[in-house]
Symmetry: C2
Subunit: 636 residues, 2 copies
C-alpha cells in the first residue's frame, strides 16, 4: 500500500468535544486557579443572560465548596426563567449549542461553548457528572439531571433525570465539581464577582466562599437594562462571501426586497439606489447573484449614505453607571477627578455594531508610582486575564499620555500614575481572541474607537490639571483682592479724605469667578468642616453644590443628604460670601473633600468640578484644548 | 407561551464552520496583513508535515499573486505523497478533520483546522472556491478540485472534480484566493518562510512574491529529520476523567494488560506494582473501574518510578542545527559569542511529552540599545504573532538577566542588549492559546523547563563575559612575561656574568595557557590577517583551530576551508609560537574574527571559544558559576 493510502487511513473527523478535551487551555482551563474562576464565570454569565432576556431582576447564589484536595464544587443558582426539560441535556452536555449564536444582539454568552466546557472540564478532571436542577414557571415540579458529555460524539450522556420538589418558582441550579485552586485577591472568583456587580447594578449576587465567608453584592438599582433587540446585519463591513451566502439562502424573490429584508438601514428607496449604482435590475432573483455582481453591490454599499446601525441591539453601561461603578470600586481612595465618561457613537466592524465606552479617574490616594490600573469589560463581563493580548491594552499603550500629564516611558506603553482607566466594549459579537473570551482581538475599527475615547478622556485630564494649576495661581490673586484691595481702598480714602469707593465692580472685573474652598478643624472626636462660597461675579448665582464626604460619617449638616453626596441649593449675591457647616464623626486621615457643581458653567467655578454624570454643559476649555491639539498634530 | 419555552425555540446546534465563520479572528484572520501570512503558513506547514511523514525531502513552491485590490492568490505546491482522491474534499473542505489529531507524536498540524480554515476565509472574503491539484504515486493522473465549504453543515461542497495531466509524479498544489495585504519585513510571509527555512534545513523553499521577486531558501542538509513515532500516553499528568474514559473504552480484559497496553513506560512488573499500591486485583475488568478506584490508580502512578516518556515521538532541532540556524539568521552581525544550545531532557504535561531547546548569541554588531530579539518556535514552526501572550516570553521576562550581564528594568521583563534568544518547544501536543496557533499557553511544566534552559544559557553568557574580562587582564601579564621577563633575565645574566637562565618553566608556571590573537593589516584591496598562537604550558598541545571569517572573501590561507570556517590542525611545543596567515578580499568594516577551538579544554585557551556544536567538554567554569548561583539563591 502506498504512503498516501496509508496516510488516508488515518484521516478522520474530530468531534468538537474531543478537540476541546485535548485543548482545554483554549477554553481558559490552563491552571488550577484559573480553571475555578472560569467555571464560576461561565455559570454566572449564563444566569445574567437568562434573567436579562426574561426581563427578571437577577438574584444569584454562588457557592464554592472544597470537596477534596484541589477539588471544588461550584454551585450557581439563579431565579431566571429556567430551561425547558428536553433542552437541559443539550445546553449543558453539548458544545456549540445555544440560543444566542445566530442572533445579532448583545449578550454575554455568544458561542454556545461556555457552560458545557465547564461540564467537560469537570468530568475530565474529577470524573464527576454535573448536577443540574431547573424549573420553569409552567411546570409543577423541577427536574434534576446528572449528566456528562460523550466526547467522541459531542452529545450529552444523561445519567439521571427525575422530577423533584424545589423551593423556587423558576430558576436553574448548576453544580459542577472541578479540579481547581481557590484564591482571593487578584484574578479570583471574588474579583470577578465584584467587577460583575459594578457593571450589573441590577443584580443581587450572594457569594459563599469555601471557608464559609459570605459576601452579598447588593442590588443597587431596581431597573433592568433595557432588553436588547435582535437586528439584521448592517451593510457596512459585510464580506463578499457572506453576501453571496445570504443571497443564496434568502426567501426574497427580488433583489430590492432581499436588500430591505435582510439588512438593517436599507429602505426601499436606498435599495433602488443600490441597484442602480451596481447596474443591476431591481427585480433580479438574488439567488442568481454572481460573484462580480455581488462585488458591485458591495461597492454600492460604500457609495450610498447609510444610517449608523440601530443601537437597541446594544446595552451600553451608560455614563451614570460607569461613574457609579468607578466610585464603587475605588472605595476610600477618593480620586480628585472623575472625567466625563465617554460613550462613543455606535460603529460597525464586519457587519456587527459596537459601542465603546470609557472612563478615567485620577489623583486622590491612588498609587502614584504604579502602572495605571485598567478595568476591561466586554458586554458587561469583566475581563481578568490576558490583559497583554487585548486591543484595549494596545490602544491605551498607543497613546502618548505624557501630553495629558501621566508618566510614560518614550510616550508608549501602559502609563504610570494615580489613575484608573475603564473601557467597555459592547457589541452584538465581541471578537474574542479565543473561546476562553479573555481578550478582545485587535480589530482596527474597535482599536480606533477606543483610541478616540481615550484621547477625549486625556484632554479632560489635562484640563483638570490646568484648572488645578489655575486655582493655585488664582489663590494669590484672590488673597490680594480679598484682603489688600479693601485695605488699600480704605487707606487711600483716608489719605485723600474721600469716602471709600465701591470696590465690587473692580473685584468682579478682576476675578469674575465663584470661589469655593473649605476649612477643616478637629474637635475631639469630631471633624468640623466649613465650606466657603464667594461670588466674585457681577450677577446673582444659583446652582447646586455637592460635597463628596465619606458617607455614614456625617453627624450634622445644613445641607441635605442625597445619594452619595451632601447637597446644597446655593443662591448668592454678587461680591458676597456664604458659609455652610458639616460635622463628621472623626475620620482618621481626612484630608479634603471633592466638591461638585451642577446648573452653572463649571468654568466659572474654582474649587469644584462639574458633577460626574451631569455633562450637559459643553466646556469651552475642552474645545480650546481640542483646537490646540489639532494644531500640534498637524505640525507633526 | 412562557419565556422559557420561547427561549427554548431559539436553542440549536451550531456547526463548527459557522462558528469560525463568525469568529475567524480566532483562527488568526484578524487583519488583512496577517490573514495573508496565515494562509501561506497553514499550507506550507501541511506540506512539510506530509513530506516528513512520507520521508521525502520537501521541495516547496510558494507563490503569491495579486489578483485585485486587497486580493491575493496564495499558491503552495509540494512534492509530497499527495492525498487520495476521496479524501481531498474533507481535508480542505471540512473543519476538524485530519490525521494527526488522535496521534501522539510531534507534527506541525494537530488540530485538523488550519488549511480548511484558509479555504473558509477565502470563500468568505472573496467568494472564490479553492483549487486543489493532488496526485499520488499509484494513480496515472492527478485530480483537480474546485471546492468551498458548506458552513451550515461543515461539509465540503465540490464544484468541480476531474482528472488532469500534471507535471509531477506526486504532490499537492493548493490555490486559495483571499483578501489580504502584502508586506515584507517584520511579521510577513517572507519572515515566516525565512525562519521556517532556519529550522527545516532539509527543505528547499522557493518563494515568488507578487512583484515577481524570487527567493530560494536552499536545502542545507540532505538528511530528513528522523520520522517521529506514535506513542501511548505517559501515566504522568493523565487526568482522572481521561483515565476513566480510557478504561471504559479499552479492549483489554485485565487491569494489568490495560495498563501495559494503553500507556507508555508501564512494564508488566510495574503494572503489578501499581495494582498493589492501588489495592486492586490485577485481573479486575478495567471497564468496571469506579471513580475512587481510578483515583487510587492515579496516586499509584505518582508513587512508582517511571522512565521518562520515549523521545522518538519528538523531533528536536538539535544543537548543531540551532547553531546553524542562528548563524544563518544573523547574517553579517557576527556575534562574539554563541552559547552552547540547550536541549533539555523530555518532560510531560497532561500526559504529553515535550522537549525545550534554547540558544543565545551575544555581542558583535547586534544592537546594544534594543530589547533582545526573541525567536520562538513550536514543533519547528516559527511563531510570529502574540509574543506577549506566549509562555516563552513570560519565562524570559521572569529571569533576572542583570546577573548574567544584560540590562533589565527592575530585574524583570524582556532584557535589553546585543543578544538573540531562540526557544523551541517540541511536543506531541503544543498547548496553543488559540486555534490560530500563535502563542504557547502558560503551562507550568513548560514554563519551568524554559526557565531552566534560559538560566543555563545565562550562566554561559556570564562565563563568556568573565573570560573576556580575564583576557583583558591577562593581556598585561602576557606583555610582561613575553617582553620584559626575557629582557630582565638577559640583563641580570649580563650583570652577574652568568649564562641566561632557562625561562620556560617560569613562564609556563605563571601563564599555563594557550594564547591566541590576531593582527590585521590592510594592503590596498586586501586584508591580511596573521593569527598568533602561543603555547605557555609545559606540554605539547594538539587541537583544531577554527576562524570564522566572512566566507567567500578568503583569497589565500594556509588552513583548509571547511563548512563555515577556515580550519587548522595545530601542533605546538611548550613555550613556543606559531603563526598562520589568511588573506581576504578587502572587507569593508572588518573588525575581528571569532576563533573557536576543538579537542582541547577551552578553559586553557585565551582568545578562542569552544566550537559551537562541540560541547563534549564539561566546563569547570560553568560548574563554578552554578555553585555560586546556588549559594546566592539560597541566601535569598
Amino acid at each position: 500500500m502506498g504512503i498516501a493510502h496509508e496516510m488516508a487511513r488515518k484521516q478522520r473527523e474530530i468531534s468538537v468535544a474531543e478537540f476541546f478535551e485535548k485543548n482545554r487551555h483554549i477554553l481558559g482551563f490552563d491552571s488550577l486557579t484559573k480553571s475555578l474562576v472560569v467555571s464560576v464565570k461561565e455559570a454566572v454569565d449564563n444566569s445574567l443572560d437568562a434573567c436579562e432576556e426574561a426581563q427578571m431582576l437577577p438574584d444569584i447564589l454562588v457557592q464554592i465548596d472544597n470537596t477534596g484536595k484541589d477539588e471544588y464544587r461550584v454551585i450557581v443558582e439563579d431565579n431566571g426563567p429556567g430551561i425547558v426539560r428536553k433542552n437541559v441535556p443539550y445546553v449543558f452536555g453539548k458544545l456549540l449549542y445555544g440560543s444566542r449564536f445566530h442572533a445579532l444582539r448583545q449578550s454575554r454568552g455568544q458561542q454556545g461553548i461556555g457552560i458545557s466546557a465547564v461540564v467537560l472540564y469537570g468530568q475530565l478532571s474529577t470524573g464527576k457528572p454535573a448536577r443540574i436542577i431547573s424549573k420553569i414557571e409552567e411546570d409543577e415540579v423541577a427536574y434534576e439531571f446528572l449528566l456528562t458529555i460523550n466526547t467522541k460524539k459531542n452529545e450529552p450522556r444523561v445519567i439521571k433525570e427525575e422530577p423533584i420538589i424545589w423551593h423556587k418558582d423558576h430558576g436553574t441550579r448548576v453544580e459542577i465539581t472541578v479540579r481547581g485552586r481557590y484564591t482571593r485577591g487578584k484574578q479570583s472568583a471574588y474579583e470577578y464577582l465584584q467587577q460583575t456587580a459594578i457593571v450589573n447594578p441590577q443584580a443581587q449576587i450572594t457569594f459563599i466562599e469555601p471557608d464559609g465567608r459570605k459576601t452579598v453584592f447588593k442590588r443597587v438599582v431596581d431597573i433592568l437594562p433595557p432588553p436588547t433587540k435582535e437586528i439584521k446585519p448592517h451593510p457596512h463591513g459585510i464580506e463578499l462571501g457572506e453576501l453571496v451566502n445570504m443571497a443564496r439562502n434568502t426567501k426574497a424573490y427580488r433583489l430590492t426586497s432581499f436588500l430591505t429584508s435582510e439588512f438593517s438601514r436599507i429602505s426601499p428607496k436606498i435599495a433602488e439606489k443600490i441597484c442602480k449604482l451596481a447596474y443591476l435590475p431591481a427585480d433580479m432573483r438574488p439567488q442568481d447573484m454572481t460573484l462580480s455582481e455581488a462585488k458591485r453591490i458591495l461597492s454600492a454599499f460604500e457609495k450610498v449614505k447609510l444610517m449608523a446601525p440601530p443601537t437597541d441591539c446594544l446595552s451600553p453601561i451608560g455614563e451614570t453607571l460607569i461613574k457609579k461603578g468607578l466610585k464603587n470600586v475605588l472605595g476610600s481612595l477618593k480620586p480628585g477627578f472623575y472625567a466625563q465618561p465617554i460613550t462613543r457613537d455606535p460603529r460597525v466592524y464586519s457587519g456587527n455594531p459596537f459601542i465603546v465606552e470609557a472612563g478615567i479617574v485620577y489623583g486622590g490616594e491612588l498609587p502614584k508610582d504604579q502602572s495605571v490600573k485598567i478595568l476591561r469589560f466586554a458586554n458587561r463581563v469583566p475581563l481578568l486575564y490576558q490583559q497583554g493580548a487585548d486591543v484595549i491594552t494596545k490602544a491605551i499603550s498607543s497613546i502618548d499620555w505624557r501630553r495629558y500629564g501621566l508618566e510614560q516611558r518614550g510616550g508608549e506603553g501602559i502609563p504610570v500614575g494615580p489613575a484608573i482607566i475603564l473601557v467597555h466594549v459592547a457589541s452584538t459579537r465581541i471578537p474574542f481572541t479565543s473561546e476562553a473570551k479573555e481578550a478582545i482581538a485587535d480589530v482596527p475599527e474597535i482599536y480606533e474607537e477606543i483610541q478616540l475615547a481615550l484621547k477625549s478622556l486625556g484632554r479632560q485630564l489635562k484640563m483638570y490639571r490646568v484648572k488645578k494649576e489655575r486655582k493655585k495661581k488664582l489663590s494669590e490673586k484672590f488673597f490680594l483682592v480679598n484682603k489688600i484691595l479693601p485695605e488699600i481702598a480704605r487707606k487711600s480714602a483716608e489719605i485723600v479724605e474721600k469716602p471709600v469707593p465701591k470696590l465690587e465692580p473692580v473685584i468682579t472685573n478682576i476675578m469674575n469667578i465663584i470661589w469655593i474652598d473649605e476649612d477643616v478643624k478637629k474637635d475631639n472626636d469630631k471633624t468640623i468642616i466649613t465650606v466657603r462660597i464667594a461670588n466674585f461675579t457681577d450677577e446673582n448665582q444659583k446652582f447646586m453644590l455637592y460635597g463628596d464626604y465619606p458617607l455614614g460619617t456625617v453627624i450634622e449638616t445644613d445641607g441635605t443628604i442625597e445619594e452619595d453626596y451632601v447637597k446644597w441649593y446655593v443662591e448668592i449675591k454678587p461680591v458676597s460670601y456664604q458659609y455652610h457647616k458639616i460635622i463628621l464623626a472623626n475620620v482618621d486621615g481626612y484630608t479634603e473633600t471633592n466638591y461638585y457643581v451642577d446648573g452653572i458653567n463649571p468654568n466659572k467655578v474654582i474649587g469644584a468640578e462639574p458633577l460626574p454624570g451631569d455633562w450637559r454643559i459643553k466646556l469651552d476649555f475642552v474645545e480650546e484644548l481640542e483646537k490646540e491639539e489639532e494644531v500640534s498634530e498637524d505640525e507633526q
